[in-house]
Symmetry: C2
Subunit: 441 residues, 2 copies
């Protein structure tokens, strides 16, 4: 199959980082990959499918580098509460109601939401992940999946998650990759974390884990263990493997130096940090030290949506605010993090995140013609500060058109919403005594 | 003319603040006002126009309580720069290119953007405001307009802005109200501010002014004058009149106590504060003291859009973060600020901001059926944390349908964009030496 996108503006992120917008380009896709990006021709070679992208911007699909997608089923159920209450009185009691079917339909609902918002790839960390993988297979999206596991579930549970990794790594024409996904240092003891590391090592996969979610968490860990949680992960050998660390809001300067020396990346999810008053992650310092940073949404119970445009904008703004310097986190750097940065974070830096020949064709067409973008003095400014999820018109993943003119081609949205709504009452029940875990870092 | 909206969910903000969602309501509008809100009837009395609102939420139109709407023409031209550079090297040089026609077309473009985002009223503060008023008249929206003026333009210029107030107050079937609009204490001397107060007093209008935009500004003012800029406005008698104070990020505890005793309101525009690293306004403390707070977007050169949904969300999140308590700025309080709070702030608290009989029918229908709202466990959570401008389907102002199913009925969007684009090159020229003002507070 070949696909030709005609007359597009193309967003190019250059090292530096700098941005360039190439006008009037024809982009040819052969199979799953970008074959060429060239000035528009009057007589292009034929293709199986042609998209007219006049007036649109072609850019890499957005990547959600940390989420718990099926949690959309609990959206809006834990508002205006502290982090501790959020875990102990809301999230973990709610999840004691969780059934395999919920994960399947929740994953489909979240994938529909993300496709409509131009998100082509997600690093997801949740339960019953075989069902999540089925949903990804069906939706036609890309995903790096990890089956979340707590230390008190025991080594057998860990082994089941390793079997999941083996079963699905490289599946769905290579669209699915896998990680080991122990929950966090405060819910997994050292032996368990070491065992997770061994499984990942044997399987040749990375590790996706929560760590240093707040400065208080770091301080409590130092008091208990004498080292920061990030240092502990390194001492246990986890950071020798490619690892994706969710949050790291409480990373110390020493932690940041350490991460810069390891094949580790940080998934940054600013909406959760704001809503739960968790502090602001030191992203400017991380980037300066050379740490890879990607953007994520986290789950929809702390974010409420899976909108990576919003993560992008919040990152740029909160970093300016936190460092007291509006010159920090420029348009170009923000867009670099949202594209190449997130691609590296999810372990696919050599395959996605840029509109260049040889890369996989995970691409979106964005309409910048709405009044909220006009007049279009600056495409980068519009993308970071004015774009809405609803501006995404067309989504291509692995060379295949998944949404065209805002119509989903792989999923039946009405049926998915109907299925999720059937469980509304059961899902909103929560019995604090039956929580699946306790937050006491 | 009568209008009947059938089978809507209705958002009701109660004192406390509490929110209630009334299901299956019929809302009848007679002329410009809401006549009744009642459980849906099978055989309602006939009406000239009927809207089926099944599956939609009916709520008060959003109010933008501080903006410079025509600045949309410079959108994206001043990025990643400090507040001082933003004024001295970008905004004020750019505005030396400003022509009357730019204000007219810019205002129309911004009104189109706001109608599409469900914003039914704006308190605007800009130049050549006769042209802005013509645009409002044409668009069918509501506006509280002030002609911005600097001290160095002299008393004659102030008098011209007073004549504008007289000319337009109550115009367009009462949709337009006016204010005196001296720019700020740091650009207007005491005599000028006193003269503005006298003109407002004679005309029976309020005052819309920028004040205490950052803590540094407050500190510089205290050093120069011995009092805070808010105290100065009070000493000069401006706060005896209804006044709308933009920003007040640098309000001290004493300023807040003072404001609570005056007919003054604060317009809160959090996106500007984040983007320009200006600090976080003490909104939680203001509200606790009893100060009226409304939401604004500010101009599109600091915000990039005129999206009040985003202001609402950013206010809730940054207040949680700044106070270190996720329990602060609840859903209900945030929605109260966005509706009744903003209505009081723009001087229309007895006329708009709630869906109740007797109030003016400035109303919007919001589609909460998209995947980013599903399953709909909580309407308030969806409005504050998941709604997008593009979810607004239908907009009613003063009893008249202005947008139906996302189609603008009063404005020709393509023509407006064409007109604004014609000036793209001229508008983006800037000659720092020709700036209209200097920022040196």
């Amino acid at each position: 199959m070949s696909l030709l996108i005609r007359h597009a503006k193309v967003l190019r992120i250059l090292p530096g980082p700098q941005t360039r917008v190439l006008n009037e380009q024809d982009v040819r896709i052969e199979g799953a990959r970008i074959a060429s990006v060239e000035p528009a021709s009057d007589n292009p070679a034929p293709a199986d499918e042609v998209l007219d992208a006049r007036g649109m911007l072609l850019m890499p699909g957005l990547i959600n580098s940390h989420s718990h997608v099926p949690m959309v089923i609990f959206r809006g159920l834990a508002e205006d509460v502290s982090l501790e209450k959020w875990f102990n009185e809301y999230m973990w009691p709610l999840e004691s109601n969780l059934q395999e079917e919920d994960v399947y339909w929740g994953m489909l609902l979240g994938l529909a939401e993300m496709i409509e918002a131009g998100v082509t790839c997600v690093a997801d960390h949740y339960f019953f992940m075989d069902r999540a993988a089925e949903a990804v297979q069906q939706a036609g999206t890309r995903a790096a999946l990890g089956w979340a596991v707590f230390g008190n579930q025991g080594i057998e549970a860990l082994d089941r998650t390793a079997q999941f990794c083996r079963r699905w790594n490289g599946a769905a024409n290579g669209r699915i990759t896998t990680w080991m996904a122990p929950h966090a240092p405060y819910t997994c003891d050292d032996d368990f974390l070491g065992a997770a590391r061994d499984r990942a090592d044997e399987l040749g996969v990375g590790i996706h884990i929560h760590v240093a979610e707040t400065r208080d968490q770091t301080a409590a860990h130092v008091k208990k263990r004498g080292v920061t949680p990030i240092r502990l992960l390194d001492d246990l050998g986890l950071l020798r493997l490619p690892s994706l660390l969710a949050h790291a809001v409480g990373a110390t300067e020493e932690d940041i130096r350490l991460l810069a020396d390891r094949p580790a990346a940080v998934a940054h999810c600013p909406k959760t940090y704001l809503k739960l008053a968790m502090g602001i992650a030191p992203v400017v310092a991380m980037r300066k030290a050379g740490v890879t940073v990607g953007l994520g949404t986290d789950g929809a119970v702390s974010n409420n949506t899976l909108d990576v445009w919003e993560s992008l904008r919040l990152m740029a703004m909160t970093q300016k605010q936190a460092t007291g310097a509006a010159e920090n986190m420029t348009l170009a750097e923000s867009l670099e993090i949202a594209t190449r940065g997130s691609a590296r974070a999810v372990g696919l830096g050599d395959r996605i995140g840029t509109v260049e020949p040889g890369y996989l064709a995970d691409l979106i067409l964005v309409d910048l013609g709405g009044p909220h973008h006009q007049p279009l003095h600056s495409v980068p400014a519009s993308l970071v500060y004015a774009a809405r999820a609803s501006d995404v018109q067309t989504v291509i993943i692995n060379g295949r058109v998944i949404m065209r003119d805002r119509r989903l081609l792989t999923l039946d949205k009405a049926e998915i919403i109907r299925q999720v709504s059937r469980s509304l009452e059961r899902l909103s029940r929560r019995v604090p005594a039956s929580r699946i875990q306790v937050y006491a870092p």
